[in-house]
């Protein structure tokens, strides 16, 4: 008998080991270090020392409540927008895409072959004040003669929506594509209207995809700073902008670390609320 056969209880641990080691090295240890930093005081010039400086957290919340609220608001709107845009899109691909399915999916992923930054910079050109989109919207009087899109909330939220769309579309596609078409036939055989069959069969079966997509979109979107920086003004800056400028420009590590924890905590809370609302079994699929 081999070692493993004699110690069966070890098998799951061994299988988990790479994942646990990964988490420990790349998540738990840095997180601990970040927590340590978040309780330091001092300045970049004089150096930082650990002093249990809990006021960093208070300052983070009171000083930047505006950006925190904005981050969750923008991420929330963008998440709903990606859901509304991608659901019909991937629904059509999953049920009517036929042999083009993979190609169509590739079209969704293709923009991702270009880096995030370049994609967002491209929107600066598309939405430019003298550009074609703004020109058209002015002509049809959606925008006033000196109205603009770039450097507005609309531009920032649209940018986030665009950049995170695949994170919603792909899990949604996976769950829709799995649905057995015979279930829909059965529903119609049992005199369900198309709408009713959708609401009672398709939608519930795609719920794990919706939940997964929502999380994959909302969480990174709430911490995003590129869209606000490139497509917005200081009045659209999100908490990610504050954290990145504290970390990289002001080199104020304690404040940046405390803000990161506040953001993480708020995301956790919203996740728990969400889990409670939709039911945990949907979160795990």
């Amino acid at each position: 008998m081999t070692f493993i056969h004699r110690h069966r209880w070890l098998a799951p641990l061994l299988l988990l080991a790479p994942g646990l080691a990964w988490l420990a090295v790349f998540f738990v240890v840095p997180l601990g270090f970040l927590a340590y930093q978040s309780l330091q005081s001092g300045t970049f010039e004089q150096g930082y020392t650990f002093t249990w400086e809990f006021s960093n957290y208070r300052d983070a919340i009171t000083g930047y409540d505006e950006q925190l609220v904005r981050s969750f608001l923008y991420a929330g709107i963008a998440t709903v927008a990606t859901l509304l845009i991608s659901y019909p899109l991937v629904y059509w691909i999953a049920f009517h895409g036929g042999r083009w399915k993979n190609l169509l999916l590739l079209f969704i992923v293709a923009p991702f072959f270009v880096t995030y930054l370049i994609r967002t910079l491209a929107w600066q050109n598309i939405l430019a004040d003298q550009g074609p989109v703004v020109g058209f919207l002015r002509d049809i009087h959606v925008l006033s003669a000196d109205g603009r899109l770039l450097a507005t909330t609309v531009a920032v939220v649209s940018g986030i929506t665009y950049n995170f769309l695949p994170f919603m579309a792909l899990p949604l596609y996976v769950s829709l594509e799995q649905i057995d078409a015979r279930l829909l036939e059965a529903a119609q055989d049992l005199y369900a209207s198309k709408t009713k069959a959708f609401l009672r069969v398709t939608l519930p079966l795609s719920a794990p995809g919706i939940v997964a997509g929502t999380l994959l979109t909302f969480i990174p979107a709430a911490g995003d700073f590129i869209n606000a920086q490139l497509l917005g003004t200081p009045n659209q800056y999100m908490i990610g902008n504050v954290i990145q400028s504290k970390f990289l420009e002001l080199i104020d590590y304690p404040a940046a670390a405390a803000l990161s924890f506040v953001l993480m905590g708020l995301i956790m809370i919203s996740l728990l609320v969400y889990a409670r609302a939709v039911g945990t079994e949907k979160l795990t699929g």
Binding site: F112, F113, Q124, A128, Q178, T233
Partner: protein, 390 residues
């Protein structure tokens, strides 16, 4: 059903995730190969590196009018020394660039650069030196240091020029895109901050000295001796403009793209950018604010692990009045080198009369240096950063 979904879904998602995750990884793997330092094989002088790795700001090197990818002065340096130049325009503003490089430097590692350029009206030149993150120059290779004008021989942050050689000086002013401003030329900070016709079409610079000096002068305060009161008066005006949505963005050198496209009507702007770099755009104007503004000097440093001989050789090269004139005329900024005007007349008589490149007393009496103590004031820095990020 749910369980069957889970496995398949997990696997597929893992596969899709793999694609998404590996793409930036690949790009990073392809892009990181721009270092060319080290090793002296094939150069004329054994100690010099093959390549000079040079980080500078946009619109800051002379360009061949027929081929904008070429720089006559850099080509001449290569011809004279055999050292190729990897010239990278990756400094957008002082704070962001410093943030980028301070990580490796604080661990005693180099940043794959032999020369970097930072401004004396930021707190970073002094910091680089006090932290010993820059290498002392090889003065034996820089006999041309004798050509420095008197005003540039002994700056407060580096009194003996042990670590730095000035690149050029410049003046901060207001650039207007006439097409976007409706034909109005912006000449005061008051217009910039308060004129509702410009709402949302104005950018300010992230550099505190560049934005605050002209405002303080307009307030009747002295920017070279900042007090809490004068700071607050200027700060409140900027804050009010930000809150009102007047200010589109705080920028580094990246204001240039928005200004050229007409996304912004007016910008706090550096003198040479519009004078030469953007001269082709007939809608652009540059003015010194009516009540005056600030003057600053950019300085070359050798970061840790940079090639001191190669960088020093280059610094000596640009301190030659002929080369300095090529640069001054080519980029529209003020040279720190003696005798440049005579050389500039030979190159381009018109530029030699440009008061922004060779400032006259009228201009010099109207520009000031920002208080260096205020740059290091923690409260001001915090407030300023909050303004930029809020």
């Amino acid at each position: 059903m749910n369980h069957a979904l889970t496995r398949a879904e997990l696997l597929r998602r893992a596969a899709l995730g793999g694609v998404v995750i590996s793409v930036p990884g690949l790009l990073a793997a392809c892009g990181g190969d721009d270092d060319g330092g080290g090793g002296g094989a094939g150069t004329t002088t054994a100690e010099l590196a093959d390549t000079l790795r040079f980080s500078n700001w946009q619109l800051y090197i002379d360009r061949d009018p027929n081929d904008k990818t070429k720089s006559p002065s850099l080509e001449q340096f290569t011809a004279q020394t055999g050292v190729k130049v990897n010239y990278v325009e990756d400094v957008n503003d002082n704070a962001t660039y410093f943030g980028k490089i301070q990580g490796p430097l604080s661990q005693g590692r180099g940043i794959d650069r032999d020369i970097i350029v930072m401004t004396d009206n930021s707190r970073f030149p002094a910091l680089l030196i006090s932290r010993e993150w820059v290498e002392p120059l090889d003065k034996g290779r820089i006999p041309n240091i004798a050509n420095l004008i008197e005003a540039q021989q002994s700056p407060p942050f580096d009194p003996d020029r042990t670590y730095s050689i000035p690149w050029v000086s410049g003046i901060t002013g207001i650039a207007t895109n006439l097409q976007a401003s409706g034909g109005e030329v912006v000449t005061t900070m008051q217009q910039l901050l308060e004129d509702t016709k410009l709402k949302g079409k104005v950018t300010l610079l992230t550099e505190v000295a560049d934005t605050m000096t002209p405002i303080m002068l307009e307030n009747g305060d002295d920017p070279s001796k900042v007090t809490d009161d004068s700071w607050k008066r200027a700060y409140d005006r900027v804050k009010k403009a930000v809150d009102a949505g007047q200010i589109r963005r705080f920028t580094g050198n990246d204001y240039v793209a928005d200004l050229e496209r007409g996304n912004i009507a007016a910008a706090v702007s550096w003198s040479g950018d519009v004078a030469t770099g953007l001269a082709a755009n007939k809608d652009l104007r540059w003015n010194l604010p009516e009540k005056g503004s600030d003057i600053w000097t950019d300085n070359m440093f050798i970061p840790l692990e940079g090639s001191v001989p190669t960088a020093s050789e280059y610094m000596n090269f640009v301190l030659d009045p002929k080369i300095a004139a090529m640069l001054a005329v080519g980029i529209g900024y003020i040279s720190p080198v003696k005798g440049v005007k005579d050389e500039a007349v030979k190159l381009d008589p018109e530029s030699a009369n440009n008061p922004l490149i060779f400032p006259d007393d009228d201009i010099l009496s109207n520009v000031h240096q920002f208080d260096s103590d205020a740059l290091n004031n923690e409260t001001y820095t915090q407030q300023w950063q909050t303004l930029l990020g809020a």
